[in-house]
Symmetry: C2
Subunit: 260 residues, 2 copies
Amino acid sequence: MIILLTNDDGIHAPGLFALYRALKPDHELYIVAPESEMSAVGHAITLTSPLRVQEVRKNGSFYGYAVTGTPADCVKIALQELLDTPPDVILSGINLGANVGVNLLYSGTVSAATEGAFLGVPSAAISLATLKDPDFGFAARFSKVIIRFLSTSGLSDGTALNVNIPALPPDEIRGVCITRQGTARFEERFETRTDPRGNMYYWLSGEKFVGEGRADDDFIALRQKKITITPIHYDLTCNRELERLKSLSFPLEIPLSHPK
Amino acid sequence: MIILLTNDDGIHAPGLFALYRALKPDHELYIVAPESEMSAVGHAITLTSPLRVQEVRKNGSFYGYAVTGTPADCVKIALQELLDTPPDVILSGINLGANVGVNLLYSGTVSAATEGAFLGVPSAAISLATLKDPDFGFAARFSKVIIRFLSTSGLSDGTALNVNIPALPPDEIRGVCITRQGTARFEERFETRTDPRGNMYYWLSGEKFVGEGRADDDFIALRQKKITITPIHYDLTCNRELERLKSLSFPLEIPLSHPK
């Protein structure tokens, strides 16, 4: 299969290379990834400045294209400019750190998968739930399962998979759970510091994940040592609230011609 | 009421000032907005560099805080550091240009409202559907209707409103429509250019909006000269696909201990 690989940790990230190495023997791979780290860029795209693309070599041979943009930019430019044939699958990752709960909205890794989904390509974001001493081996092998799933069972139009893998030896992983995006979030605070010139600055910190949830929330299942697979789409509509708002008379009563 | 104003066009944008001027007589306003334009940053937050905050004055008096970050950063730092009391309402805008369809994911304006929603504050993003010669007058006045709605009817936890206003004289606006996020998107392409040093670069272009939809899709209703109000949340889970995936036997059959 033709597979596009991207990420948000940058083209030189070990997580991307782990994917590349695991999939290379069986697939035609194209890497189009940010030149530098782009964590927490969310679904940003680059409009006010141009993108540059550079070929990157590894061990003497062509490895991929580095783009001076975000993960979403990489997917767009790969499909529109760099690849001759549309990929069969897009994988984004392997991200260093889980992408669960509210953090999905901040995640560049996830945004590459949703971008792929709305450009019509079966896509998945893959993250390893650790921030240090990552061993990407199992996660990279598990990506083959994801690819097989995407190419056989398929995905409904416009959806992508958000996959999180516990950072554990395979025999300690307690199976796979089809999950929903939970409401867990980082307990954040700003550290206040003073720079060498005496000016104050703020730095967002806080790594502790807080929140309760149901058994099939991504964050809960991951904590229970399960691989989580959440089907995601790019529709932010809250349907329950939509029905409630439609039932209110409010919208029709606005004095449009004579606003206060 | 205590109202926090932010945007993605930057603290000096006329759309923000129009909101400020319209709401100032009746409310206690706080402006915390990006120092410079942050369009299309999506839900990016700033982790790898610090944030700086500067007081901005207008016509000799304090106007607001300029932050060297994204709209989501602005909401976070406003609530955690800059405001003594949490705001009753957060308004993000008035954005120059519609925020409908797939573009919601790219929108910094919208991300400020969803960030506000998950920090527990009733929030709305307000956009004027034009890119040139904006007259923010009616949109600013209509924001009072939104504030009144948020403070009386309220919103379910975790939801925000995404409001788009046609760039038309008020008497040509054909009412208000409670909408869903449509699937319309920009027809994009990359322009390929050569810089003064002979190096190629790419620039994303394309302003034409394409896509079909239902009558209550934001993009369709806006084209029909209606004000659109879409309830949005920060849950990307595709529930329909979730049920389908759960019904498949796939997840249980993965050879976890002996991955290929």
